[in-house]
Symmetry: C2
Subunit: 230 residues, 2 copies
């Protein structure tokens, strides 16, 4: 096998690991919110357990990338691709952490008698999980157009997060027994909003990889901005 | 100038940028919390403005690192050092975002009539800002012992965050007018807890760089764990 062919096989392996990691992180997010709706403590525990798989994948991706950098000494676009793979691995590991946070909030909420129903959270999880999948697709196919489509959806998730804040505030004001559960649900919403931000970060890196234009930090200042005060 | 000497000068430059970035991020965190205590909207706005400097430094560090990887094709430890510099740059950029989040919460809180005083937040900011400085020192001096000292302090910050949650819950239950401000303060505390986590991440990477032992993900599952439910 030529060194060149070997190099491309290793790049493919790196890509495959990232796709696997993204799928796993996405599933964890969906399951964590499913556990919220079904009040399923076992499902929440399952999400928390799977975090070790995500962590192991990040370490594997880092090792693969460093090996490629050391042995193959790639240039230009391959170099950017490899360093970006490490960044994406880091972002996906954080997505896994956010899914774990949601699962932990769910474990609290299961014991609570008064949990307001919030269809907004349902919509947030659909959008943000799809964004994750699309961000990875955009990276694999070097599709800047798909990558750019994430910004708009991120705005929608931010808007929903703001709505959740206002709705919860009303619930908590009306019935102080809901304050504990309200804070837990607010954190669930917050974690979903952060997941959408991380997907957007990945997409912005893809645009940079494809077009050489840096659109990062366009959203950052407001990325974790609090919802409008009432 | 020899290529070797040039390489080491560039490594020094990379290091200097990281130190500058860490100092800036640390200052933003301290100023954001000072703005909370003095209810100083101008100071909060100043923190938000400085985020563009942090963002620019991250881009500069990435470019420097990629240039070093492309032109110098470094091996072994230098390679790990450079890839780690990129990770640290990424972590510090997130610290800047958390400082901005705190400043934005402060902007809300300034309009609020009832803001509970929380010495716990004061302690959290001191510990986490010191942790940031020490994490960078450990990286520069390759001091694994200093790096390991961060884990204990991170546990203390987590404990304080749990206390803040319980104290705020009590305030909010007693006086529903405090619910809005309580949620804002909870997010301030949450952002400080995340900053301590990021400093701990950096320190864990340093231990890995020095000892080759991976102690990452020891804290991660609980990194953003919710405080104990009451």
């Amino acid at each position: 096998m030529t060194a060149q062919r070997h190099f491309h096989e290793e790049l493919d392996r790196l890509q495959a690991r990232l796709v696997g990691m993204a799928g796993l992180a996405e599933e964890m997010v969906r399951l964590a919110v499913e556990a919220l709706h079904t009040r399923d403590a076992q499902l929440a525990a399952e999400v928390i357990r799977r975090d070790t798989e995500v962590d192991a994948l990040e370490v594997e991706i880092d090792d693969l990338a460093i090996q490629l950098l050391a042995l193959q000494q790639p240039m230009a676009r391959d170099l950017r691709f490899i360093t970006m793979a490490m960044k994406i691995g880091n972002d996906l590991e954080r997505v896994g952490d956010h899914a774990v946070n949601i699962a932990e909030e769910v474990e609290h909420l299961i014991g609570s008698a008064v949990v307001p129903a919030l269809p907004e959270i349902e919509e947030m999880v659909h959008i943000s999980a799809d964004m994750l999948g699309d961000a990875l697709d955009a990276f694999i196919r070097l599709d800047a157009r798909l990558a750019r489509s994430l910004g708009r959806r991120d705005d929608r998730v931010d808007e929903l997060h703001g709505n959740v804040f206002r709705i919860l505030l009303t619930h908590m004001m009306e019935d102080p027994r809901k304050i504990g559960a309200g804070m837990d649900l607010f954190l669930v919403s917050r974690n979903l909003e952060r997941i959408a931000d991380l997907a957007t970060n990945i997409a912005e890196d893809v645009v940079f990889l494809v077009e050489g234009r840096n659109i990062r930090h366009r959203h950052d200042a407001g990325a974790e901005a609090p919802p409008p005060a009432d």
